[in-house]
């Protein structure tokens, strides 16, 4: 009986790619996330929305434990991932399912708000992390770099400029290079922190199309300030407010910007959302 119960629970759990329980994060005793419990379903793009300072980025960074790189960080609760490669105990990260920090961060790729290319060539932006974190043989590097650039539709634009400094690319190209760099490491999941915030409309749409295509291959969790963009991309939404999870929207199809705006302004039950 107990065995059947466990099996049923595992089946229910497999619907989720991320399970956070009672997650609280503070920096020098200033609470940024307060007791957040959230299950992110597998498939599609999960979008975190909320006003500035609501804790979206901190939540995202607790998935790859990047908050710990900031002084004075204290994390409580638990975060667990169910990735294609198996279950991963992210935090507290001490059980049998825990993985080394470097491996966790390689498997959970991240792209930041502003393009953060390394001050080296386009090619080395991808090949250095590949050889350092995955030990990729030198003979395979060129092919892997090309594959990554093709995946983000950048190969045609930079094929003859691989030895040029990546800092000379346009903003949109730099952001796609950052995406290619993360994808080259064959992640099991992708975290995106407002990836189109610093791009023009055309470049942003290009990146959005890429993300929709990528979401069919691997789980994507994204922070977005743009309500229209959130509605275009999201298959699941979590609304955050002052460090807490305000509500989850498991099927945002048919929602309009106004509904989401009202939700962010504190309206209750705009469209039958599941209050946390």
């Amino acid at each position: 009986m107990a065995g059947k119960g466990v099996t049923l629970m595992e089946k229910q759990d497999s619907r989720f790619v991320l399970c956070a329980r009672g997650l609280s994060v503070s920096f020098f005793d200033h609470a940024v996330l307060r007791d957040v419990s959230l299950n992110v379903p597998a498939g599609g793009i999960a979008v975190l929305v909320g006003r500035s300072g609501s804790g979206k980025t901190t939540f995202l960074r607790s998935v790859n434990r990047l908050n710990e790189e900031v002084s004075g960080c204290r994390t409580e609760g638990s975060v667990e991932l169910r990735l294609p490669g198996g279950k991963v105990d992210v935090w507290p990260g001490v059980g049998p399912d825990a993985v080394p920090l470097a491996e966790l961060r390689r498997r959970v790729g991240m792209v930041f708000q502003t393009p953060q290319v390394f001050p080296v060539t386009v090619c080395r932006n991808i090949s250095v992390p590949l050889s350092v974190t995955m030990g990729c043989p030198r003979s395979e590097l060129d092919d892997r770099v090309k594959d990554a650039l093709v995946r983000v539709d950048l190969w045609r634009e930079v094929a003859d400029r691989l030895d040029m400094s990546a800092e000379r690319l346009s903003g949109g190209q730099q952001q796609r290079l950052c995406l290619a760099r993360a994808l080259a490491l064959e992640p099991d999941m992708l975290l995106l922190d407002e990836p189109t915030a610093s791009l023009d409309v055309r470049s942003a749409r290009h990146v959005e199309d890429l993300l929709l295509a990528l979401s069919e291959q691997l789980p994507v969790i994204m922070v977005s300030h743009g309500l229209a963009q959130s509605l275009r991309l999201a298959s699941f939404m979590a609304v955050m407010e002052e460090g807490r999870l305000r509500c989850e929207i498991s099927n945002p199809d048919g929602m309009e910007e106004g509904d989401l705006e009202r939700l962010l302004d504190g309206a209750e039950d705009v469209r039958g959302e599941e209050a946390n």
Binding site: E69, V70, S71, R105, R106, G109, F112, F118, L185
Partner: protein, 293 residues
Amino acid sequence: MRNATSVRRMSRSGEAGLAMLRLSVVLAMGGMALLFLMVVAFALPAFVQNGGGGPFSWSWSPGHGEFGILPMMVGSVAVGGLAVIPGWVTGVCLCCWLLSPTRAGRPGPWRVLVAGLVRVMTAVPTVVYGFAAVFLLAPSLRMWLGGSGFSWLAASVMLSVLILPTVVLVLQAGLAPRLEALSLSGVALGMNRLELLWHLVLPASRATLLSAAVLGFGRAVGDTMLPLMLAGNAPVMPDSLLSGVRTLTAHMALVTSNEVGGQAYDSLFMAGLLLLVINGTVSLVIRHMGGRA
């Protein structure tokens, strides 16, 4: 009315500040120009001296009318060059270690201690290093390698220690902001700070690395006390690491304390000019190499 008065007052204080800035620039540039002029003017008599025994000869023997300072020039370059290699390499390694704690912003007690020691080293008088070396390094070299212990090697070893904090602090000032700029994105890919430094920051910081080398070399060539106490002060060309050498700075200190006026005294200005030329040339060559690379 009050606003207009305060604007006039701010404008006056701005003009005064600008005048102070200009005065500082004029004073600094004028001082440098005067220094160069004085050195060149005083060196000229030695420069135009005809016949053998002038400053551009290989023998220093005032009793025989020989005032060659070329052995001292070679001694300065040799001692400085040998000091800067281990000093720079150690400085780069030490700086990378200091900048790469396992968790950002939280250097462990060892890193805090070592960083503090490096800063303290900048304030240690060179004579203290000299005394330590006279009683520890020179006897050790004498025992293990033979000779008197007071040699090119002894002076270079202590000079490499002397320039270490200069190299480390210059490197830290140049590398730390670059590392911070890319550490979050690099760490998010699974790289640690040491890997980021080694593979990405150092290759992109050629100018900083060269500046540290140039400043280290300048500090080593310009130091007087350590070569004076440790190099043996033989005014000859060194034929091994254990042979005594005399640097230009040590030579100037020795001659100044014994001579006033005369050819030997005049040759000191030539020695000063050569020191300036050596430092300037090395700086230009290394920067040119960095630019081409």
